[in-house]
């Protein structure tokens, strides 16, 4: 589990480099990705299906990135975009096209629907995460005087 956490952190931070995240935010964006992935694993282990786990993990990920965004006064995109890569169903796309080519239509339908469901779950997770009022995030960290809007 710890190894997974570290690997997810390295993976997310190397993507953060690709997307030119400012250097002082690497830690936070990699933490977001790692926490998202770990929560996905935990939800999977608790017996949620892949889809439910994706939903809950995305929800959690969104909350964390909003928390970091409020903490560091940065756009939330910085953390969310790099963190989400651990949850996007790349394996689903691969297996779906693989089974399609192999004429294994039953497995193709299964994987294909699962991929779409995961994409939908990510959507709903993000939407839920953003429905929480901004106040909850910003009131904990009152704006520093020099940064006041």
């Amino acid at each position: 589990m710890i190894l997974q956490f570290l690997l997810a952190m390295i993976a997310t931070s190397s993507f953060a480099v690709l997307f030119c995240v400012p250097k002082d935010q690497f830690l936070f964006s990699s933490l977001t990705g790692a926490l998202g992935w770990i929560s996905y694993l935990i939800f999977c282990r608790l017996g949620c299906g892949v889809v439910t786990a994706s939903l809950l993990a995305t929800f959690f990920l969104t909350i964390i990135s909003r928390f970091f965004a409020a903490l560091c006064k940065n756009p939330v995109t910085l953390y969310l975009v790099t963190g989400i890569f651990t949850l996007v169903p790349g394996a689903g796309i691969y297996y779906a096209s693989y089974y399609f080519i192999m004429d294994n239509m039953a497995s193709f339908a299964e994987k294909g629907t699962e991929t779409f469901k995961i994409a939908g779950a990510i959507t709903i997770g993000i939407i839920f995460g953003f429905s929480i009022p901004q106040k909850l995030f910003s009131c904990r960290f009152p704006a520093k005087p020099e940064n006041k809007n």
Partner: protein, 259 residues
């Protein structure tokens, strides 16, 4: 007070950079509105799409002006978004006049992308880690690292040639599948599917998906639909790339049978 045309140009230029680097629609709109407000223009209209900005100020006065900007979908640069965020915050706090803001904006625009070598290495390391967290073993992760490195080289090369993103996605995923099949065929004990899944991650439309959801959620249906279409097409291109190679491979005589 400065000329309204200059202020509008500044605001739209800032929005342009933001949109180009992958900002969400509402962020671009809000930034432009806040800047116009901060410089004392209160009669304005701004409409932002994911590939265009339309803005006008002081319509019914003497110094009426309007701007239309075409903003092609560009490469994501989150550093620029953060820098512009800081700049607009300072403008709103009236710590920054127009000339100063132009200078700061030029500095933001000049923020470089990572060097190609750094990009390639990071892409490789990222692929290796993803391969390993998705269930690959050490050997698989090692090959994913190599493939990620070459994938990024391929993408950079094609981008320089001006190839379309879809073409790059198809070629990229085909390249990954083909090389993983080669590895399998020379008899290495690799999990071919894990290698592909790990190294395919840089091609995935994670950003387009996230942005489109947030745009749709904020009520910018048109822009959300544009990004959603982008995400779906990218996914389809990846599937096409993987699929084509698989078909070719299946029709090759003497291949190792796939699981």
């Amino acid at each position: 007070m400065s000329d309204s045309r200059e202020i509008l140009t500044l605001a739209v230029e800032i929005g342009d950079v933001l949109l180009r680097s992958g900002g969400e629609i509402y962020r671009v709109e809000d930034t432009i509105l806040l800047i116009l407000n901060a410089f004392g223009i209160d009669d304005y209209d701004v409409y932002v799409l994911s590939n265009g900005i339309f803005a006008s100020a002081n319509e019914d006065k003497e110094d009426a002006c309007s701007i239309i900007r075409h903003v092609p979908l560009g490469d994501v640069h989150l550093g620029k978004i953060a820098a512009i965020n800081q700049l607009s915050r300072e403008i709103c706090a009236h710590e920054c006049d127009v000339n100063e803001a132009w200078k700061r904006l030029d500095a933001c625009k000049a923020l470089p992308f990572q060097k190609p070598l750094v990009q390639k290495i990071c892409c490789g390391v990222g692929c290796a880690c993803f391969c390993s967290i998705f269930g690959g073993r050490t050997l698989d992760a090692f090959f994913a690292l190599l493939l990620g490195f070459f994938l990024q080289s391929l993408r950079l090369g094609q981008q320089k040639r001006g190839a379309s993103n879809f073409f790059i996605d198809i070629i990229g995923s085909a390249f990954l599948t083909a090389s993983s099949l080669v590895l399998l065929n020379i008899g290495l004990p690799v999990l071919q599917d894990k290698i592909v899944i790990g190294s395919i991650v840089p091609l995935l439309p994670g950003i387009a998906l996230t942005t489109s959801i947030r745009d749709l959620f904020n009520g910018d249906y048109l822009s959300g639909a544009i990004h959603l279409l982008d995400a779906l097409l990218t996914a389809m291109c990846i599937a096409i790339g993987v699929g084509t190679v698989m078909i070719l491979y299946r029709n090759l005589p003497g291949g190792v049978l796939l699981p």
